[in-house]
Every structure is written in structure tokens, then in C-alpha cells.
Assembly symmetry: C2
Homo-oligomer: 82 residues x 2
């Protein structure tokens, strides 16, 4: 299992409800890919969303995001953390 | 107080020790600006580092990073989180 930070652009104006609903949609199916979405943060001004997850591969993370309709623009494995 | 995600590019090959030392350097002086650096994650392959912090302004966050020698390339206020 690895840790990933994925980034979504173009989410200008995202609301707290929309972020929560997107996160809940991911959580509802994440087990299909052995992924867990831990936290997410959104900047509605620049339209940037960051999601922290664990899973077996970046493709597994992307498959969940694809199925819930919000494909990530970048997925970075982040093996180092403090 | 607000929450910020700041991003550093160009850190290809960063090691666990370097990330920890950079974070410790920030923690050592963060009170000067009323900032707190909570966590950081690094992808040494793409050279990307994400730092999660709280503070009074993005400029306050940047002043700490400037003094410790690792200016952020982007600082996003992230008022929404799950």
C-alpha cells in the first residue's frame, strides 16, 4: 500500500456540500479497488482540490475517481511524510 | 486563522531526512508569524512537496518558508475540507 496526493483543477466555486458529496461517493466504492480516501481539501477560488489516499496503485485511485465522475489531473505517490 | 496547502516544485530526489529537517526548521520559527505547519508530504520522483498549515495569511506562511530557504511555488487557502 502506498500513499497518494491527487490534484483536481478546474473546480472553481466548489462548495462544502459538493466536496462532501464527492468524497462520500468515493468512499462508497473505494473498497472495490482497495483504496481509502482519507482527507480532501478544496480551494474554491483557484478551483483546486487535493485528495489524500492510500491504495495499491495510482491507477486504482484513478479508477475510483473516474467512476464517481471526477477524474484526477495529477496523482503523486508521496512516500515521504512528516 | 485559515488553512493553507502550499506546494513546492523542483524537489526531485528529496529524502526523508531532508523533508524532516525542512519541516523542523519551519516549526522552529513558525510562531513568529502565528503559523503552524501541520503535515507535509513529498513525491521525490516528480519533486513535489505539499505542506498543510494554518495561519493568518498566505504571506505569513511564505515568510516562514522564505526564512528557512524553501519558498513555496503555490499557496492555496483551502477553506473546505473533509
Amino acid at each position: 500500500m502506498a500513499t497518494y496526493m491527487d490534484v483536481h483543477h478546474g473546480m472553481v466555486g466548489i462548495t462544502a456540500d459538493q466536496l462532501r458529496e464527492a468524497h462520500q461517493a468515493d468512499l462508497a466504492i473505494e473498497k472495490d479497488e482497495g483504496v481509502h480516501f482519507e482527507r480532501a481539501w478544496a480551494d474554491p477560488v483557484s478551483g483546486t482540490v487535493y485528495c489524500l489516499s492510500t491504495g495499491p496503485s495510482p491507477d486504482a485511485v484513478q479508477r475510483i475517481h473516474d467512476r464517481t465522475g471526477h477524474r484526477a489531473d495529477e496523482i503523486h505517490e508521496v512516500p515521504l511524510m512528516v
